[in-house]
Symmetry: C2
Subunit: 205 residues, 2 copies
Amino acid sequence: MNTHSPIARKGRKVDQVLAGAREVFMRDGFEGASVDEIAKVSGVSKATLYSYFTDKRRLFQEVIQAECDRMSGEIEARIDPTAPTREALQTAAYGLTSFLVSRFAQRVFRICLAERDRFPELSQTYFENGPKNGHDQLVLHLRAAAECGELKIDNIDMAAYQFTELCKADLFVRAAFGVESDFSQEEIALVAEEAVETFMARYGA
Amino acid sequence: MNTHSPIARKGRKVDQVLAGAREVFMRDGFEGASVDEIAKVSGVSKATLYSYFTDKRRLFQEVIQAECDRMSGEIEARIDPTAPTREALQTAAYGLTSFLVSRFAQRVFRICLAERDRFPELSQTYFENGPKNGHDQLVLHLRAAAECGELKIDNIDMAAYQFTELCKADLFVRAAFGVESDFSQEEIALVAEEAVETFMARYGA
DNA sequence: TAAAAACTAAACTGCTCAGTTTAAAACTAT
DNA sequence: ATAGTTTTAAACTGAGCAGTTTAGTTTTTA
């Protein structure tokens, strides 16, 4: 009775297909991926694949939708509410920066952006599970800290946006355009520390 | 004797083709654009088009390369060196934010990112004419201001990256994913002002 | 005005690829 | 084991599209 999914699935190889599709779509994007390739990578015949999914579009949607959801899980504000604000922010900044430049986050970002016009719904799903979700979590913590008087913030939304953007400094664009793809912990830590430094200079109580 | 371009061009309709190709590529991206469509929009026959450009790839490269160059021109630091630092930064922030969310900048950004793997050279051209160029210009001004003692910055590169990122707050991602596409002057001004406020809190002398 | 050069429409080639079909084989359950 | 279901390989259809060819028309040039 696991038919909670929108797509009909009666066979036992659905997960294989989803896994294969995930691999290929995340590697090649929507246009770049061929259904034959997906079938091959999945270890499944094309006919079987098409018995699960009506067409390539829906398969793509299902896969990317799932990745967007997964992203939601990965954006877990690792803020320790018991720690002093500055340390908590430092941890959050490091976690956020790491995530933003990670292979996974970069892939989802690029694919969703590339297919934005073809799949506006996905674009929105991405936005809500990703940036918006992260923003909302951050706002909660900032509001709490502001109410404790540990931070003085007039426009909390703006502060949260700024915090996030500060965590992207340099690395994010370089990762996106493939100038570099792997960053050392030191690089990430530096960006995170500078982000907190600047943020606290403005909003520290 | 205007054969300074890498591609052979003997006819009189080259510019028409480039203009048409620009329109179509910027609208539909590389895969999405069809050569027949480009020919039609250019008001030129396909055969003529192919007499100028060896293939679709090179036409695309030429067009996007030109757009990247044009971007370089549009990133003109509108910083008035005679103005007080804070005002100069304010003007720069407003100009930068406006540019970053403009249709033009957003299009180039998205197309270059989407075709990143297919055209790594373009990706690099984009990066150098866009982000890197903007960064370098900003660094110059920040360094000058720092040397005058109007700002106190230890890591000028990082400060410049942060300034740029601060100018993206909220609007850039929303524009990229099509959540919104037009922003009022007030919205832009707000982001710019807040960016300067935060920047000066950290780096103001 | 005549030869040369540039341009045109339209048909054509060849390839890729999404989606279907078919007939057979492998699995599952009773 | 046998009936019913799922899966398979492989061939096929049909569409889209890059790039070419052809045979003829327009523009340039001298």
